[in-house]
Amino acid sequence: MDPLAAIRETFFQECDEQLAELESGLLAMEGGDQDPETINAVFRAVHSIKGGAGAFSLEALIRFAHVFETALDEMRSGRLEATSDVLKTMLRASDVLADLVSAAHAGEEGDDPRAATLADELKAMSGGEDDTSESEEDWGDDFDFQPQAVSFEAPAGPTGFVVRFKPRADLYAKANESALLLRELARLGEASVELDAHDVPPINEIDPEAAYLSWTVTLTGDMDETAIREVFEFVDGDCELSIEPIAADEAEAGGEPEFDIGSLLAKVQGDAPAATEEAPAEIEPAAAAEPEPEAAPEPAPTLAVVPKAAAPEAPADALASTGPRKTEAGATIRVDLERVDRLIDLVGELVINQAVLSQRVMEAGLARASAVAMGLDELEQLTREIQDSVMAIRAQPVKSVFQRMPRLVREVAAMTGKPVRLVTEGEGTEVDKTVIERLADPLTHMIRNAIDHGLESPEKRAAAGKPAEGVVKLAAFHRSGRIVIEVSDDGGGINRERVKGIAVEKGLIAADAALSDEEIDNLIFMPGFSTASEVSDISGRGVGMDVVRRSILALGGRINIVSKPGKGSTFTMSLPLTLAVLDGMVVSVANQTLVAPITAIVETLQPKASDVHSLGGHSRVISIRGGFVPLIDIGMALGYRRDPLPATQGVALLIEGEGGARAALLVDAIQGQRQVVIKSLEANYRQVPGVAAATILGDGRVALILDIDTIVSVSRGEMRKAG
């Protein structure tokens, strides 16, 4: 990738973050958040997108972002009230902005009619004056691409500019010099310079590395803003800079250089006698350096020897009060996912190695209290901690996928004409990145379903005495080492009569089948089931809850539904926290050690001879609480033995596979449960039917992880052939 493309890619990545920030900020405000920092964050998000777009000349994006930003600025300054209608428009604008960003990312920039309409709405809100506020909004912002992008909008021909310039400590740290910049500025026209030394603390609190001084330069004469910006080109980002055209009367009045050296000196000497005594030598150069801007203010090197002990808390305070107010930059780094995965692999190997080593030491007959064994115990704790920490790197809050839902809800609500409020809970719950990525589709589908099928129409709700606005709740929390995600609605609940009718009609169940309420509810997960009577745009495209269920199962999760007529339905998904490890039941089969994923196992039982019936050949069924399920001998299914194991000599694992099919797997014995690291078989070999993956156990040997669905379906096929 060439460097520019890489920067572009980074820009779009950042855009995604900014958009998320924007939306959550707007939603918080809609929820009544009046913290000025929230609106500032929202404003900054749009502003940064605009700035970046300017750098890449993404015209449509710049134009829309600019209008949006102007409206937000009006809101920030209190001229536009953040009413619910205004915020709704803003939320729609954030959707459009997101679309424009993705269009730009795909390189399909064009004029979106929606953007144009919304831009007009935004302009109307901000009172039409969207151009002139341009130059002031950079104050305090360190992201500045505008000049190239929007200079065409700057009104021509002011007679001068007022330049406010406040260096940050970084400016001096990078060996820049305010005096030189001011001198440069003075060359552009007639300049009067005003020093603001308000922020200079008493001498004993001065942080030698901080920047306290700022200047206001009134420039008169014929020049343009670009020329002024060029002066500050190299300190861009290291200072606060504002350039404003002079108001007509101000230009005439000019501005006398007001500079009160006396007061500064008084401040320096009067407020800090103690410091003066301790370090008299330092005062001189400092005082001499400050008064005249042209005389190179070099406080940093000269003051560097001021004894810090005299004012231990000063530096922090000084920085806090004078430094640029940065919203917590969140100390994060971007790391290639591959590197993290490699680290996880390595740690997985470390864990295995450690287990092997422990076992070897035990085998060698060393006492548990021996120094070696104790050292190993510590090693084990450390490795586990390392493993947890490494897994935590991949963990991300579900926020990233929850955040996509408000927009979906808005859109589906608009399409169905049902007012909906989305409530989210537990957005901070963390889970592996891969799980998050693969959650988006099922969640989208379930939320659509909840609104389309779950919620009643406003009329029906009114009739049922419910508020017109339906509520869809999305919640996440951790429970026993897994993440649980719930999607619930306060709609009518599942219409069991209809669900059963459809299932019979589609031949999914027998017409006279006696089903419990729970079983009827679960029919909606059957393939080819869709309750929408008309195929709508939103759901009912043949893919239904069975697809959701399958993708959840593929993630090693489970899903079920609880529905109360008239009260609503709740879908509960329980998912593993990571895909790199799996909770397994370690079993032995014909002298082989195998691992069965615990998620698939419903219960384990010791078959009684009277419960097992032969169907001829090697096909057997086992009766469990009145029903018959096929009994599959794993040893035979995998070709480890030729003759079936007598059922009473083994243990049966009752499992539920894809589509809810049940079967009992017969194994010789259960060794125990443990978390295993999943290893690919395909990397060096190929896929093996009946085997999902491999893992390495504590003794260093490879154990195969069963692919239960394949085993069940294969043995079904064989049964059919046999029958």
């Binding site: 692999d345 082989q592 060096n684 070999y685 039917p689 390495i696 040997r701 195969l704």
Partner: protein
């Protein structure tokens, strides 16, 4: 020299025509493979059997965290299966982007030969010979077959037959 065409890249890389081979024994037979494809040599460890696999695939072992399939080279080449014991050796070879362990009786030598020493395989009826043997080397009165490893892992037909 037709037999070199099997490894054209290598032939170019070693313009002088000198190559290093690692030789090993399977029963009374001696074979060799190009040393460049060998990653390491290790002792035998019991393998975990794989279902639905041809008999020459002995299973998989743990090689420092990676799952490594083990091919019984004797069975693969059409001899009797190896009775694996601690005296056996696994040659870990890189084949394409996969890593495979080859079960052999013992590693005997490293040979440095020039291409002209490698004689073309005479026409024989055996399919295995055509599939694996790339050439023959006569050395101190012994015959060493140079084998190519590209098709050591089972192909689709062999899997179905299993």
């Amino acid at each position: 020299m037709t037999q070199i065409q099997a490894q054209p890249a290598q032939a170019q890389a070693q313009a002088a025509g000198r190559r290093e081979l690692i030789s090993f024994r399977i029963g009374a037979q001696e074979f060799c493979v190009d040393i460049m494809s060998i990653r390491e040599i290790r002792g035998w460890t019991a393998a975990t059997a794989l279902p639905q696999s041809p008999s020459f695939v002995r299973g998989v072992i743990n090689l420092r965290g990676a799952v490594l399939p083990i091919v019984d080279l004797a069975a693969r080449l059409g001899f009797e299966s190896t009775e694996a014991s601690d005296r056996n050796v696994i040659i870990v070879a890189q084949i394409g982007d996969q890593v495979v362990g080859l079960l052999v009786d013992a590693v005997s030598d490293i040979l440095t030969v020039t291409d002209d020493v490698i004689q073309p395989t005479p026409d024989v009826a055996s399919e295995t010979a055509k599939t694996f043997v790339r050439g023959l080397i006569a050395m101190d009165g012994r015959m060493i077959s140079l084998i190519g490893l590209e098709r050591v892992l089972p192909d689709h037909m062999e899997l179905e037959a299993a």
